[in-house]
């Protein structure tokens, strides 16, 4: 079970940002940008999967996660915790353990043969589910996972991610329209603040990152990526 403490939200965000920087999960590269799944060019990349290899950090993260969810939603509001394939699975397992709840995982698509299962684990009809992934960009994958869970008769009411990009303002509303409230621990803005406070990267790099965070589509257009977000996609 979790530590039964409720740290200040700002402290959580700053601490998580520092953790991600400490394990080199944060990558800034303006000269050779990354391409997001939508085709958006970006100078930032974060690898939250690295967190699973750091037991002290992941333990603290799960305490933070449980405290955020219990504080925001309540203590008895869920029947299950489901992890989205692939990166969401370990975080869902640890969070389910912290919250004292059953766990399932959801595949990106059914296997296509055999049982053709998309969801593994027992999930009761009508169950209230917390969907877990490592990060949230535009929420597109979460909506697909939630739709798969809904087909079993259960319902995703909330979704949790360690990290939320927070560069597309409409994401929380989009998730809410799909029936889910979004919870997270840190965003790019928290990372940026720590980087600035601690002079973690060259000033020019930080300037480019800030330009991107404030105008991702314009930055993308100027760096070989798409200049317009495809419909129904903001990632």
């Amino acid at each position: 079970m979790f530590s039964n403490t409720f740290p200040d939200r700002a402290v959580i965000s700053e601490t998580v940002a520092k953790m991600l920087l400490e394990i080199n999960a944060v990558h800034f590269r303006a000269d050779q940008p990354y391409t997001f799944t939508s085709g958006l060019a970006s100078p930032v990349y974060i690898d939250c999967r690295k967190l699973i290899s750091y037991p002290r950090i992941r333990s603290a993260l799960m305490d933070f996660g449980a405290s955020v969810i219990f504080r925001n939603v309540g203590f008895e509001q869920f029947d299950a915790v489901a992890g989205g394939e692939t990166a969401g699975i370990p975080f869902a397992a640890w969070l389910a353990d912290r919250m004292g709840l059953p766990m399932q995982y959801v595949r990106k698509k059914p296997k296509g043969f055999g049982r053709d299962a998309q969801i593994e684990g027992a999930l009761a009809e009508g169950a209230r589910v917390l969907l877990v992934e490592d990060l949230t960009t535009d929420g597109g994958s979460k909506i697909k996972f939630a739709e798969a869970i809904a087909r079993t008769g259960a319902r995703v009411t909330d979704t949790f991610a360690v990290f939320y990009y927070d560069i597309f303002p409409e994401t929380p509303a989009k998730l809410l329209d799909a029936g889910m409230r979004l919870h997270y621990l840190a965003t790019w803005w928290d990372i940026l603040k720590v980087c600035k406070d601690e002079n973690r990267f060259p000033v020019e790099t930080i300037k480019e990152v800030e330009l991107f965070l404030n105008g991702p589509v314009a930055w993308s257009a100027n760096h070989g990526g798409i200049s317009e977000l495809p419909r129904a996609s903001k990632e």
């Binding site: 990558h27 590269r29 050779q32 940008p33 990354y34 391409t35 997001f36 799944t37 939508s38 085709g39 958006l40 060019a41 990349y45 690898d47 999967r49 692939t86 990166a87 990106k108 597109g140 760096h223 070989g224 990526g225 798409i226 495809p230 996609s233 990632e235």
Partner: protein, 109 residues
């Protein structure tokens, strides 16, 4: 014939979602185009390989451009042979693309 599949990738941003849509479109066309089934399946396979490779991995703009060149070359080869080519030309194209997808370099490459 098949160029619209690459055009779709470009128009949809050239990222994982664009390739995923391409793979699904190519597969969905197989039922209605039995004579093009092998070519469409290879295109679907090539697009799905991109999705599997980069869905949860960093993809640089540079690599994305290389991957687009790669699938464009695959589609161009198949399009050239299947658009009125002989049965032998089609078979040659299918084998050439299959080798390309498998990463095998032949004497004609």
């Amino acid at each position: 014939m098949f160029e619209s599949l690459v055009k779709g990738i470009v128009e949809a941003g050239g990222g994982v979602r664009a390739y995923d849509a391409c793979a699904r479109t190519a597969r969905s066309r197989i039922a209605g185009e039995p004579d093009n089934a092998a070519a469409l399946l290879l295109i679907a396979y090539a697009a799905q390989r991109f999705v599997d490779a980069y869905d949860d991995q960093p993809l640089t703009v540079e690599t994305a451009a290389e991957e687009l060149d790669n699938i464009t070359s695959i589609v161009t080869t198949l399009d050239g042979a299947f658009k009125g080519g002989s049965a032998q030309a089609k078979l040659d194209a299918v084998n050439r693309v299959a080798r390309q997808i498998a990463g095998v370099r032949g004497s004609d490459e």
